[in-house]
Every structure is written in structure tokens, then in C-alpha cells.
Symmetry: C2
Subunit: 180 residues, 2 copies
DNA sequence: TGGTTTGTACAGTTATTTCTGTACGTAAAA
DNA sequence: TTTTACGTACAGAAATAACTGTACAAACCA
């Protein structure tokens, strides 16, 4: 009786902490709780079991689990003879961390880079125009310089994320087994 | 007339893109716009100038600029004879990127680690109790193992972020000047 | 000292996000 | 085939976050 409570409480402490910090991945706290639930679960769970465990609607569970799927934090598991969909946590944390940058950051970097490249092109065209005033031309030069610097920075970010994607980063910051 | 519009439009495109992706840093889109404004500004701006440029309240500018200050994305600039506070973008993007992890991620990791360490201690105590049932004891062992694995992962994350903080990461993924 | 100006705290408002229940399409079971 | 169960789309409700205007404290100036 008391034992079980302690076990449950220690889990809750951890789940709360995880949920609270999940926003770093752009994920709602509820999805974080769900992640914590799956972290401790010894078997894949159905939407109904999640709903039951977290006291939320099935719809919310469906949404939350999908957001976790999108980030490769959770996977759909097939179990023979089970009609319902089952979901389990992906237990390669490192992979998951890397995927986050590949999925979210690389997209954002691509968007920003694209916008900046387009702007540079427009500015160069503006500079090439003979009727552009000297003042404007000068400002355009300055803007182009700023944008190119920024593009260099995005290029660096991409190279960093590439080292995540290929796991080459682990040669630089290796996974070490802690001594027991 | 037309020139100036083109210049303005190219800036807007870029600012919009930046604002849209700023959520990756846990920052509101408005603060993102402000960041974009400062990115193109050739001089530090006052709250009133920001308010004017973005058509928002001074209070909002105050809040937004503070969120950027907290992430070391912006700095307060002192200018002789100027009574108002002036703010400028921090132009070391790399530093800013590293700071983000040091400020946000390290804090989150510390919170999670702390919660897990506390839980492990409680579980070990539970295991040591003679009246704990064998079933509970077994479950506690499983939980401890999971938590310790997770702690190893957090340790790795910390080492990665350390390499950001010390900039040693740049030895692995160097900043390369793009050829002009 | 008293009179301005500047930045922010606070409370109220608006906008956005998150959550719920119903309704429905799809697929398995009978 | 009909029946049943599952997961999700959708619309409305509840909760949260973002923004604004007022009011005030601190700093500056006279």
C-alpha cells in the first residue's frame, strides 16, 4: 500500500519535471506528461490507456501522441492480435535529440536562408539599376553584407546539424558509460 | 520613392521569416520582429523608436526587449548625452546560439536531473526497507535503471553544451568564411 | 527642492492555444 | 452483409498568453 504510493510518487516527480521542460522541443506540457508516462511504462499503451492514466480526452491523447510521433519521440508498435494502435517511447534518446534539430531547426534555417537569398537577389537587381540613387545603393550594399554574414552563420548551423544527423558529433562528444 | 520601397520590402521579407522561426528560442513572434528590426538598424534604438517602428505599445516593447536581453540576443548600449535606454543586436550569432543552450537547456537539464536523482534516492531507500514487497522492489530496480540511463543521457547533453560554452565545438565544426 | 521624463508593474482586454464531446470515416468482426 | 469498435476532424468551451493603457517609482534636470 504505502510502497506502491512511493513508487508512484517518485514517478510523478520525474514526469512533472519532464513535462515542464518539454517546451524546449516545442511540445505542449500535456504531451510531455504523456511522454513521461510512456517513459515508465513497461509496455506499449493504447489511446484508451493513456486517456485513463492521464484523465484526459481521447482526442487530446490522439493529438499529443501525434506531436510526439512527428518528433520521432514515440513510435507505433504492432502487436499480434491487438486491434488498437499501440505506442511506445523511442528509447534512443540521442537519436531523438538529433532528430529534433533535423526536423525543426533545419526547416527553420531553410526558411530564413531562402528569404535572405531572395532579398539579396532583389537588392543586387536594385543596385544594378542605373536610376537607383547613390544613397539607396549604399544602403543596399550594407543590407547585402549583413545578409551574407547571416547566411554564413546558417551554413555553420547546418553543418553542425549535419554532424548530428550523421552522428559524427559522437566522435567529438562521445557517449560514455558512467561507472556503476 | 520606388527604390526605398524595394529596400523596405526586402527587409520585411527577412524580418517576417526571422519572426516566424523565433519560437525555436522560446521567444514570441513580436520579439522576433523586434530582433529583425534591430538586425537591420544601423544604430541602437530606444523603446520609443521601436514602438514607432512596429506600431506597438511601449509596454510590449519593454517586455520584448527584455526577453531578448535574457537570451543575450540584444544588449543595452550606452551613448553619451542620451537619456533614454538604447538597445542594439548582439552581432556574434555564434555566441548567441551557444548562450541559448547554456541559458535554457542547461537549466532544464539540471531540473530534470535533480528530479531523477531525488527519485533514485527514494527508490533505493524503498529497496533497503525490509518490509518492502518483492514485487515493488523489482519494479523499483527497473525504474532506477531507467533513470540512470536517462541521467547518462543528460550527462552527455551537458558535455555537448559545455563544448558550446567553451567554443571547443568550433574545433569540430569550424566557422568557414564563404568565398565571395 | 519641485517638475519632467523614462521604464515597468499591474489590471483589464483581446487573441491564441488547448482541451472536450460529438460526429463520422474506416476497418475489423460477426 | 450488418454490426461494432477505433481514431481523428471539427466546432465550441475553457484556459493561457499576448497586448494595451494607466499609474507609479526612479532617475534626471532645473
Amino acid at each position: 500500500m504505502k510502497d506502491h504510493e512511493i513508487l508512484e510518487r517518485t514517478r510523478t516527480i520525474v514526469i512533472d519535471a519532464i513535462a515542464q521542460n518539454m517546451h524546449l522541443y516545442g511540445i505542449t506540457a500535456s504531451a510531455g506528461r504523456l511522454y513521461g508516462l510512456l517513459f515508465f511504462s513497461d509496455k506499449p499503451l493504447t489511446l484508451d490507456e493513456m486517456k485513463e492514466a492521464l484523465g484526459m480526452s481521447k482526442t487530446s491523447m490522439s493529438v499529443a501522441v501525434r506531436s510526439l510521433l512527428d518528433l520521432n519521440m514515440v513510435e507505433k508498435v504492432w502487436v499480434k492480435g491487438e486491434r488498437k494502435d499501440l505506442y511506445a517511447i523511442k528509447d534512443d534518446w540521442y537519436e531523438c535529440f538529433f532528430d529534433y534539430f533535423t526536423i525543426k531547426w533545419q526547416t527553420a534555417i531553410a526558411m530564413n536562408s531562402s528569404a535572405m537569398e531572395k532579398s539579396i537577389a532583389k537588392l543586387q537587381k536594385l543596385i544594378a539599376e542605373p536610376e537607383t540613387s547613390e544613397e539607396i545603393r549604399e544602403q543596399a550594399f550594407i543590407d547585402i553584407k549583413k545578409l551574407e554574414e547571416r547566411l554564413d552563420y546558417y551554413d555553420w548551423q547546418n553543418r553542425l546539424i549535419d554532424s548530428f544527423e550523421t552522428k559524427e558529433i559522437l566522435n567529438f562528444v562521445p557517449i560514455e558509460k558512467k561507472k556503476d
